[in-house]
């Protein structure tokens, strides 16, 4: 199970406890064997490797973990999760950490990726589907790199790979409603009385 009844365990507790409750993964049991890092295709680009993320959580180095680029660079490829001898779903831990930075409004360790996810979500909210040209344009705007990827556009437009217009669904209101209800539900579970249920 991923979504515990308590969506947001208390933010005031150590990060380790929050993450264990949120992800349902026994981070404290990690014995630092390093298999996750050995197989991770993105470890070379991370400031903390997956194994180090686990260790830093155990040691209570909360700020280092939350500010790390690792939690954003994780590609969710799940090699770590399927190889961990203790069956810890490391990819799920990375997801929970990303989620937590949203709540804390922590400065993301990789701004470009964090912004991209935000833009992507915004496009779904608006059209109900991804509109690739809009995604690329908007992503360039918010990341203040207006000319990024420009070299690719002519060839892709010529090949008809970037339709000019969004493919918009009819039930956009329904999709907007899903976003709204999810936000409301997450909000409701943040009240202190509900939160205590997350204690272990």
């Amino acid at each position: 199970m991923t979504i515990p009844d308590v969506i947001r365990p208390p933010l005031s507790r150590p990060l380790l406890i929050f993450i264990e409750a949120h992800s349902g993964q026994p981070v404290s049991r990690c014995n630092q064997c390093g298999k996750c890092t050995a197989g991770c295709p993105a470890a070379w680009a991370m400031d903390l490797t997956p194994r180090q993320v686990m260790r830093a959580l155990q040691l209570g180095l909360d700020n280092d973990v939350l500010a790390s680029s690792a939690i954003w660079l994780c590609l969710s490829c799940q090699i770590c999760s399927v190889r961990c001898p203790l069956e810890i779903d490391v990819a799920k831990v990375m997801h929970s950490l990303r989620h937590r930075t949203q709540e804390d409004k922590t400065h993301p360790g990789d701004k470009n990726i964090a912004r991209f996810h935000g833009v992507f979500r915004g496009i779904i909210h608006r059209y109900g589907r991804i509109y690739e040209l809009g995604l690329a344009g908007l992503n360039n705007m918010v990341s203040r790199r207006p000319w990024a990827h420009l070299k690719l556009f002519p060839a892709m437009l010529r090949k008809g790979k970037l339709p000019m217009r969004p493919s918009r669904i009819k039930a956009t209101a329904e999709v907007k409603n899903i976003f709204q209800k999810v936000a409301a539900l997450e909000e409701r579970f943040s009240t202190p009385s509900e939160l205590t249920k997350g204690d272990r």
């Binding site: 969506i7 969710s76 399927v82 989620h99 090949k159 008809g160 790979k161």
Partner: protein, 286 residues
């Protein structure tokens, strides 16, 4: 497989950057008597971005589509690895009561976990006795599955997590040779080419160059993100590494379509940025 009908979920990329996957999928399905009924007004599965920022949203968005398919009383099939991963994960998570309760509150009505989702690769490999008109003899193919078709097996129940064989068997059934190699399920950088092209280019370079050094003439994929990371970005990767690669990246449905007798144009092979036509001509397949 033959004669079966599926609720078809193409996914956003197949309406844009991966048009050729949609076109070739529909052509081969028609020939093989697999009926596809597109889910009316399907919406985005949220890909990795929704789940990255909110686990509940990451389930609710695909669950909305599971609900649409449930009303059709058909199993879902989708060519996109990301979509099949998100839809299958949502169906799996809905087995949990608390999750199901929250999701039904979000969607306004209950949605059960019982909708089945099969990636198109699985549907088309159930019966490998294809009516082949033009065997792909002499073509060496590196089958590249990416991560999301196979991991985690506990949820996806499809093929081996690190050395899958489904596509290799399909490609072999077409008369081509599937090479053995070690990066079949290595991540290509997924949805991050816009945010971190440097990362995606390095991962894609490793995959393309290994396949090539092992003697593959081309790579076959079953995911629009894998295909575009390896194909669309190949020119930039070549420039960065000062190395000519020029390795064609196909969708497996296009190779299947060629063997079934469709022309490269019908299969939209001219849509790729790394031109596959010289290779096909050299092998007498163009």
């Amino acid at each position: 497989m033959a004669g079966r009908t599926y609720a078809y979920y193409p996914g956003c990329a197949l309406h844009g950057t991966a048009r050729e996957y949609d076109v070739s999928a529909r052509l081969v399905c028609q020939t093989l008597n697999v009926k596809l009924q597109e889910i009316k007004d399907w919406s985005c599965c949220g890909a990795s971005s929704a789940a990255s920022l909110s686990p509940l949203l990451g389930i609710a968005l695909p669950a909305h589509n599971l609900k649409l398919a449930a009303a059709m009383e058909l199993p879902i099939t989708t060519p996109c690895a990301m979509c099949s991963y998100r839809l299958k994960t949502a169906a799996h998570e809905l087995k949990d009561e608390a999750t199901a309760r929250q999701v039904s509150e979000v969607l306004g009505s209950a949605v059960g976990p019982e909708v089945t989702v099969e990636p198109l690769l699985q549907v088309l490999s159930e019966d490998l006795s294809f009516p082949i008109r033009k065997p792909l003899t002499g073509l060496k193919v590196a089958c590249y599955y990416g991560c999301l078709l196979v991991r985690p097996k506990s949820v996806l129940q499809f093929d081996d997590e690190e050395n899958p064989q489904t596509m290799d068997r399909l490609i072999t059934a077409l008369g081509a040779e599937a090479i053995d190699w070690g990066l079949k399920t290595e991540c290509c950088g997924a949805g991050l080419p816009l945010a971190r092209p440097d990362l995606v280019h390095r991962l894609a370079y490793r995959i393309i160059s290994l396949a090539q050094r092992l003697g593959a003439d081309c790579i076959a994929t079953a995911c629009p993100m894998c295909q575009s990371n390896l194909d669309i970005h190949q020119k930039e990767i070549e420039a960065e590494h000062g190395e000519k690669l020029g390795l064609p990246i196909f969708y497996f449905t296009q190779l299947l379509g060629l063997a079934l007798g469709f022309t490269p144009r019908e299969l939209y092979l001219h849509k790729h940025l790394t031109n596959p036509l010289p290779l096909l001509r050299a092998k007498g397949l163009g």
